[in-house]
Symmetry: C2
Subunit: 294 residues, 2 copies
């Protein structure tokens, strides 16, 4: 799969998926991944923004084809899952990457702490309700992975239950891909220091105070526990069907480029087609031409 | 309301709302409205696109403030309702106007013929489920008005029931505005001839065939009945709380400009504010600065 040829890859030379994919089934050491790396990408902010805008234009066209195909019965769709520590840029990625797309084909959902009703159901219940429909691009800002991340760090469920969830997640995602959903999971990998800089920047700007919660500082004491929880999730849930991609996220322009590039590669491989007319085009044209203007 | 001063209006000189609002409670003659008019707007395509892009940038900022305010309890939100004949550009308006916005604060819903489940409920049921949440911008591509438009033309319900729906709609929209929803209803006013040109253009382009349905040509025989149904809806449901705006829609660049301008004027009057910090900013800064980089 990683080495299949596609128009997209041939055109741009590199398969970013192969470079950023986390190998599943083996221990992950996040400290070994550079949060400022810029694998195969633009080298500075200006180039990054230009490259992302160019990709955005391609994405818009592919999204329309995906939607058009769905009107003729194509069940395929795409789900982009964004995970990462506070300030890693999940919301910014939605704004800058999904912002290129037609909002009518996007289904964006941000998951917060589960409501009382959501807690009465399986942890996958609320996720299933938010899935993209055929032809759509779904974006999850946080996801079912919170149930093995914050749930693990803060011991919100018994260890044995959390342990079972990894397999439940894998089976769930397998059922999605089997049903025509391309699942693209991106871990926005941020450094401890860059988080501090971003939090300080939020404090400096009154128009960013609403994004700040002093408990974000308390959470930094749990940083090692969160990193470990991510390492376990990446190890156990990066599967051939639904791999995790590790996105160096200290530089926003690289993060946006990489996520949009991953979307482009996946959509390029899907290669959705405008459906052929299922009516007599010439006959319709004759009828319209015979319909005199008023 | 139409003459209240606002920053938005002062800046740009004109209140488009006053110019495009349909006076309710009196008969409407759609043939008296020019579908190629360009009231108070840019004069050609290039100027229109530039002006719309400039408005888009403002909208993005206002949308973020609306969302930010909702995190501090502000319940306000906006609902844009788009109605118009086939090819009038409802989908195009979503793409080009809502396309400027952050998709995570947008709730776009296209209404098609009701499903079996939807038909078992009141005609407002499915609409209520699709309403924007506080801080969001909702967009309806078609809406509850279909239940007094196609339902009237194709006699999908008894006349007495359709007659009752206008008041039900008015009460419903009044409850929305009372609950903090700014309702902006746009009728995209297209000419019979321009519809013919657009349908022919769809036939000319294989990548547009998926949007074409030969029954669209049959529907043209019902054009006068649809115009009359719109006239009645505009007369009976353009209320002070939730007025209808009549958008000349033969020229796409004017349509996009006018709808985005209406959004800007309404959001400008709402004037949502970033919430003030409810925590001790200096104390948080001290704590972060004391947190040594690793």
């Amino acid at each position: 799969m990683g080495h299949k040829r596609s128009k997209t890859r041939t055109r741009a030379g590199t398969d970013l998926r192969g470079l950023l994919r986390v190998p599943g089934g083996e221990p992950v050491d996040l400290s070994g991944y550079d949060t400022r790396a810029a694998a195969a990408g633009p080298v500075d902010k200006a180039a990054g923004r230009a490259a992302t805008a160019a990709i955005g234009a391609h994405l818009t066209g592919l999204q329309e084809r995906l939607w058009a195909a769905s009107t003729a019965g194509d069940r395929r769709r795409v789900l982009l899952v964004l995970q990462g520590m506070d300030t890693s840029g999940k919301g910014g990625t939605v704004k800058h990457v999904a912002g290129y797309l037609n909002p009518s084909g996007c289904r964006v959902r941000a998951f917060r702490a589960p409501t009382a009703e959501e807690r009465r159901h399986s942890f996958l219940w609320r996720v299933e309700k938010a899935l993209p429909h055929p032809g759509e691009l779904g974006v999850f800002d946080r996801s079912h992975y919170e149930d093995v991340l914050v749930a693990r760090v803060r011991e919100l469920a018994p260890p044995a239950e959390i342990d079972r969830r990894y397999d439940q997640i894998n089976r769930f995602e397998q059922s999605l891909t089997g049903g025509g959903v391309t699942v693209i999971k991106c871990f926005l990998h941020l450094s401890y220091d860059e988080q501090r800089r971003r939090l300080l920047r939020r404090l400096d700007r009154p128009d960013k105070h609403w994004k700040f919660d002093p408990s974000d500082i308390d959470d930094r004491a749990l940083w090692p526990a969160y990193q470990e929880a991510y390492e376990i999730a990446l190890e156990r849930c990066s599967t051939p069907e639904a791999p995790w991609y590790l996105i160096p996220a200290d530089r926003k322009w690289y993060r946006n480029w990489a996520v949009s590039r991953l979307l482009l590669e996946h959509l390029g491989d899907l290669d959705p087609r405008y459906p052929k007319a299922d009516f007599d085009v010439a006959e319709s044209r004759r009828r319209l031409l015979a319909d005199r203007p008023r």
